[in-house]
Amino acid sequence: MINDKAVTKPKKKKQFKSDFLFALPYGVVFFVFVILLIFISIALSFTYYDTINVPRWVGFDNYVTLFTRDSEFMQYALPNTLKYGLIVGPCGYLLSFFMAWLLAQVTKPVRTALAVILYSPSLTSGVMMAVVWKVLFSGDSRGYLNALLINWGLISAPIQFLQTPGWIFGIMIFVGLWSSMSVGFLAMLSGILNINKELYEAAYIDGMKSKWQEIFYITIPSMKPQMLFGAVTAITGTFNASGMATTLSGSTPSPQYAGWLITDHMNDYGFGRYEMGYASAISVVLLLIVMLFYFVAKTLFTEKEQ
């Protein structure tokens, strides 16, 4: 036995070195398509780059322009993104949690059927679904919603849902919430189902009285890790949205930049005008906003050492 160890020791040291090879293939792809891209974004954001000439260093010029002279960004892209993020993110998240909580209290066959229905909108691709929204909200009387409202006598003339800025943004939020129950929803459902039942019983013996107390004192604290995962998927799902407004309205930019998001602004500069440096500055701002949301969620749902 002792002999064995003595023999394997140097071999173990050799293995020590080769262990990283397991992580290498993923590490390379991860480095190139995640880490490197973020660094290139940051680096390019300080340059002027038109994809033909060599990037020219311009310091903070892009950021200064972005925040002082780019009125489309300050007036539409930034506030729209924040508004969209603050509405769709938390609302979709709360909806996911609430639905997961309700579904956890019914039997498995019913739960599975309803969970699949709630989850399936997140399986659709945004661009493809635009067709449906266009017909449902179409501005002529042939649009389903208009036809319905006229039929019920609520309105006399069709509403131009897809050409009116307020409506475009409203529809975007509706669509965002519609497809918000993604993997995070499944994670939270699974989290609730796996909470130790004895915790509830103990709490009731200790004097807990209502379902609300149950949610806030047992359910949420017991599944904070899943809550954080759900929050992260809600954030990424929300901010990954792009091109909704232009597909809905059928014009680029959308009427009066309605529903114009930072991603749209970025794609417009990057692939429409080939100002890659400026587009990179926009994407850095977006990444910072996502980080901000992430850290808020993290402080809310991380176990504090007590």
Binding site: D19, F20, F22, A23, P25, Y26, F30, F33, V34, I35, L36, S41, L95, M99, A104, Q105, V106, T107, V116, I117, L118, P121, L123, T124, S125, M128, A130, V131, V132, W133, V135, R142, Y144, W178, V183, A187, L189, G191, L193, K197, E201, K211, I218, M223, K224, P225, Q226, L228, F229, T236, F239, S242, T263, G270, F271, M276, S283, L286, V290, M291
Partner: protein, 300 residues
């Protein structure tokens, strides 16, 4: 004493013991009724596509518009196929490209990802902690934000106009590695140690012991990879110029953008259904495994 047990019975009726019930009870009806309106609302657009895709022209033109289909036909699918054959590239070619893309992304992301997850759980090496925490942070990475540098890197690497350009940019799925790692954390270390004693090397442990045990996580990551590949239009749009290398999702997306007539609506609905159904069917097949994996999705 008697009041105490009475209280207890009352308690257990309203407590969390009702979570995950095994039998149906009247008290569950209120929960079902609470979910049902939202479930119906969320289902409506999908039912609508399914109906619209099978409507004959007369019903597509009908005024006032009807929600449900009365006389279902395959007309929309036939004109969809005819449209693509006019374009010179048959629909089957786009489908083939999409399948290659999806299969490539699934296989490579599962293989690379599970290897990395395995190294996180069962190996020791320099930089492991750093890579692990970077991967954790990257779960909230939004690919849309770095479309510009991704395009630049793809062209610098020469990954333009081939199948690799459809697959490679989608292979890194940080959340997938995270889920597989979480699942591997549940594997008893004794099991791995025992096979080490039996003389298995790290590769054998990975392939013969760990991989069979994490099948639910593999299924989950497979469906995540499938969704991201199947719905992806960016790769076919930016990294591929050759029409015969474009994918189904890209073709349908650009097709639906260009048309506004009512006949095109039926075709678009048919296309949307074609894109949606594989996602749904795939999820239905693996949904038990997905729920199983999600139990370990907690982030600290």
């Amino acid at each position: 004493m008697a009041t105490n047990s009475l209280k207890k019975r009352k308690r257990s009726r309203i407590t969390g013991t009702m979570i995950n019930p095994t039998h149906f009870d009247k008290s569950q009806i209120k929960f079902i009724l609470a979910v049902l309106p939202l479930a119906i609302l969320m289902l409506l657009p999908i039912v609508y596509i399914a109906c619209h895709a099978f409507k004959p022209y007369s019903e597509l033109y009908a005024y006032p518009p009807k929600f449900f289909v009365k006389r279902p036909t395959l007309d929309n699918y036939i004109s969809l196929f005819r449209l693509t054959s006019q374009a010179g590239v048959p629909l089957s070619r786009y489908l083939f490209n999409s399948l290659i893309q999806a299969a490539g992304v699934i296989l490579i992301s599962l293989f690379f990802g599970s290897l990395a997850a395995y190294s996180f759980v069962f190996c020791q090496y320099k930089g492991k902690k750093l890579l692990l925490s970077l991967n954790q942070l990257a779960i909230m990475f939004i690919p849309v934000a770095v479309a510009v540098p991704r395009y630049l890197v793809m062209s610098k690497l020469g990954l333009i106009n081939n199948y690799a350009s459809l697959i490679v940019p989608l292979v890194a799925i940080p959340v997938g590695v995270f889920l597989m790692k979480q699942f591997m954390d549940q594997i008893p270390k004794e099991l791995v140690d025992a096979s080490k004693v039996d003389g298995a090397n790290k590769w054998q442990i990975y392939w013969n012991i760990v991989i069979p045990l994490i099948k639910p996580a593999l299924c989950t990551v497979a469906i995540l990879a499938f969704q991201s590949a199947w719905n992806n239009t960016e790769a076919a749009n930016l990294y591929v110029n050759d029409e015969s290398l474009k994918t189904l999702s890209y073709y349908f997306a650009t097709m639906s953008l260009g048309s506004s007539s009512i006949a095109a609506q039926g075709m678009s609905a048919a296309a949307t259904l074609i894109m949606f159904l594989p996602n749904l069917i795939f999820f239905l097949i693996v949904q038990d495994q997905v729920m199983n994996t999600m139990a370990y999705s907690g982030m600290k």
